[in-house]
Symmetry: C2
């Protein structure tokens, strides 16, 4: 490459180059929107000045507690102010935030804490029992425990640490001079995903991607200044898809909810004039199925962003009637959450309802910060024809793709083979370039917005003394989207009932992963002995 | 720095790292908004498919013409489709776009072409005379000339090259596989600024900054999908402040105007349902002073972004009445245009009109993509107290600060001294952190949105045989914002009239730089002989 006059004497300096990080958004909001309400949690209110101050206190307290650059801080928290503060305070200390799914079982939590080499845990006392069990199962050194007591909602939770969160951050300086990341490629968060194997993989995200996806959300949702965001999406899902960072960009207000309950949602929508919320289809079902007395007329169209499964026709119609505009997005933990959006063409409004629903069911096109999205034959790495028929694997490329899997070079290299992130999801490409998912090659079941690895469930089933063969597939479910349906072949001369199998699974799996249906049958196999899951999916429909 | 588990085996790959460039915005819009109107120019219409295709054709044609990475392509164009295409097609060829101010004189154009080592010029035939004269003054090799003939508006312009723009790009492949920049730090544009010395300095901007400022505009203007943007701001000013790139992000429509004329503006506002436009105060004056018959009732509030001078109280009131919301921004060519915004607090709406105007007159706070903005004592590099009184120099830091000045290492180093970009503008810091300009240490006069270096005008005056001393200051002007006012001391025994002096200046300066007022007087000086310009500014008020 020859150099030109533009390659000479024009180096990066502190004046013209700064790492991209979403921490900058809060620093700006803390100054420009100082008196605007940043967080509403029950009867609590925090302005941006307070929010920024509390995040700096947390960072300072973590530094005092010995947390250093590149250390992991785990959070087992509900959607609370502490969880929002962790999204800024932990990286302000140079550390990496590892949010844990509060619905998982203790064994998986223990595995994550060990694998992440967690130095400190922020624990919501509602989940003390779960953490205590997990600490007992850990192999590595025990982390420091900080108890977060949500006084309004969980005053009586059990303490595990020696200090509570408020006392901990009170020791930190609200003017703490936090440092920018050394490099925008530095890790900001670590999210464990249930993959195809029993052990979860640690998805590492960086400051650059977090900055870009946060702006991508604002642009895609066409947010104006001071949005009001309702937390129906758990922040332990891909860092709440980046919204803890997005909302600071426009000086918005977070309305935090510990749990997805219809009454609290409708109350918040009316009282706080919510403009945006996100969630799996189960959240829409909860909203729509509220008793009529709990619903209110919305003051304006509320933007609802959904992922995990295409919104069904009837749900779309009822959401529109209730005053919501639904946007369908798609992504993976590996892509910071949403990396694909069903970018709605206003012309489609003129279609009839089922044609509209068919358009809305498509996953869509690349998010603004995603460089490229395509569907390819994973063997040849050639793009499939845009015919709406030819199956291929969905591939991503760009700055909102993870750094890789933690301590798993092989998995990272496989995931990035050929310069594209291989999603494992199978899809077609429509004539207009929109992607539509057709199947998941990784056999993931998505129930109530949670990913369930069919293989993880099968492993538990295989351990049952009477089980000879087992296969788990998704069965469509009106409420949960999908539920796991288990097909079992018993060993000759052995017997077991469906109830016994369910009971067995409850001992070894988080509650939401336990099969809702158990069918005893011969498993259909290919000539080479591979179980034909597509046949089981057909059979599951009839159950 | 100790390494952590997050520093291991997590390298950048093509899958998870791509250079930030605004070229990506057009690639996405070309696919997702293919049939949406991208450009309206007179009776011409281009969809995004066509716009993207024409940019690729231009890139391909440039490559065929021998343009290589890091070469300069200059554009002496009005606000036309070709100018928009140059903003994408030139960097798609790996080249650097140097837009030239069509209002400058031939000597400055010649200097720029020589200094930029321009390989090819895109010339609007309206300006053939200017370019011809400039080519005659050039010292370096003559660039290739491509004539852009705006058939609807300037059918009879004189051709200088051997091929016209449409034929040139027709030779390029609309599917040309353009390359992403090697690095997001690569130069995308070169803009000459009139500084304190006679010779302009070449401000080099990079892809990363262009990407970020383009998103910053959308976020700051709270643009929704498919905005309609009216080109009243010349694209040769800081690349139209980045809007040629911003509009692609949201799939918006550009309405290009060759000249700022009231009738055409009001027609476009009504006919195309314009949502956004930008300009110096002169554009607001033009809009407001249109004959009543030419004005129309606007279908919605139109966002007007103004820079160069604080909008006066009466103008704000009249703009609001006419249906515009005015946002005040501030920046320099060195900061990609707008890097500071008067972020409006809704509470200020309750103030009376003059208090509102006083709030609006403040330049404000850092733009979302600007890391930091402050006012410092340039000697000590200490922040001035936020008391609204203490003067200091406005300093910028962040990713929308230029790479530096082309072939001028010393000027770049001075500009970035201490890790901050020194703007040369003097300001105070208010208690709420808002910056307000008080004076310009570089003695720049801003007339009709154009920067005039007082020193450049003085140099011409000093060459007049009768002039002993000369000083030029800004004089407030209702129409132009400011105009140059010259104070002259004649040599003993010599004489000259004001008309003779104006005539002299016309020969050596672009028309807009010629002093509107000439005063013969003794120049007030300090004890060390420095001319006291603040006293002249007071005297100019009385002229």
């Amino acid at each position: 490459m020859s150099t030109s006059i533009f390659d000479r004497d024009l180096p990066k300096t502190q004046a013209n180059y700064q790492p991209l990080t979403p921490l900058s958004f809060l620093a700006r909001a803390g100054a420009v929107y100082a008196e605007h309400t940043a967080i509403i949690h029950g009867s609590q209110r925090f302005t941006y000045r307070e929010f920024y101050g509390r995040c700096r206190r947390l960072a300072a307290a973590l530094a005092k507690a010995g947390i250093r650059r590149g250390d992991t801080v785990s959070a087992l928290l509900a959607n609370t102010p502490a969880m929002l503060e962790a999204h800024y305070g932990v990286p302000m200390a140079g550390a990496v935030l590892n949010t844990l799914n509060t619905r998982l079982d203790a064994a998986v939590i223990a595995f994550s804490l060990d694998h992440a080499e967690t130095r400190l845990v922020l624990i919501d006392t509602e989940f003390s029992g779960l953490l205590k069990e997990a600490l007992g199962l850990m192999k590595g050194p025990r982390p420091v425990i900080i108890d977060y007591v949500d006084r309004e909602f969980v005053p009586d939770g059990k303490r595990l640490g020696s200090i509570d969160y408020e006392s901990f951050i009170a020791n930190g300086d609200p003017d703490f001079a936090w440092a920018m990341p050394d490099d925008e490629w530095d890790a900001i968060s670590l999210n464990y995903t249930s993959g195809t194997t029993g052990n979860p993989k640690g998805v590492v995200c960086h400051h650059r991607g977090a900055y870009l996806v946060a702006q991508g959300n604002v642009l895609t949702q066409q947010m104006r200044k001071h949005p009001v965001y309702l937390w129906t999406l758990p922040m332990f899902h891909c860092n709440g898809w980046g919204y803890p960072w997005s909302i600071s960009i426009m000086g918005g207000t977070h309305v935090t909810l510990r749990a997805v309950r219809a009454k609290a949602i409708w109350q918040a929508l009316a009282e706080h004039k919510v403009t945006h919320l996100c969630g799996a289809p189960i959240v829409m079902a909860t909203i729509l199925n509220a008793p009529e007395g709990e619903k209110t007329k919305l003051p304006h169209v509320v933007e609802f962003t959904t992922a995990a499964a295409p919104p069904p026709e009837i749900v779309l119609a009822r959401m529109a009637e209730a005053g919501f505009n639904v946007t369908h997005v798609y992504g993976l933990t590996e892509t910071y959450g949403p990396a694909v959006v069903n970018d709605w063409d206003a012309d489609w409004d003129r279609l009839d309802i089922s044609a509209r629903a068919a358009k809305k069911a498509r996953q869509g096109v690349n998010y603004i910060p995603l460089e490229a999205l395509t569907v390819m034959n994973p063997e040849t790495m050639e793009r499939v024809p845009a015919d709406g028929k030819t199956l291929g694997e969905v591939m991503f490329r760009g700055n909102i793709v993870m750094k890789g899997y933690l301590k798993n070079r092989q998995a990272s290299e496989e995931a990035f083979k050929g310069g594209w992130f291989h999603s494992g999801d199978l899809a077609v490409l429509h004539e207009d370039g929109y992607v539509q998912l057709k199947d998941r090659s990784k056999d993931i079941i998505i129930s109530g917005g949670e990913n369930i690895s069919s293989i993880e469930v099968e492993e538990v089933l295989y351990k049952h003394p009477a089980v000879q063969g087992a296969a788990v597939v998704a069965k469509a479910d009106e409420k949960w989207g999908e539920t796991p349906c288990a097909f079992i072949e018993l060993k000759p001369g052995m017997s077991a009932t469906a109830d016994e199998i369910v009971e067995w699974c409850r001992k070894g799996l988080a509650r939401f992963k336990v099969p809702k249906h158990v069918v005893f049958a011969e498993l259909p196999k290919t000539s080479t002995g591979k179980i034909q899951k597509f046949k089981l999916r057909e059979m599951a429909k009839e159950v």
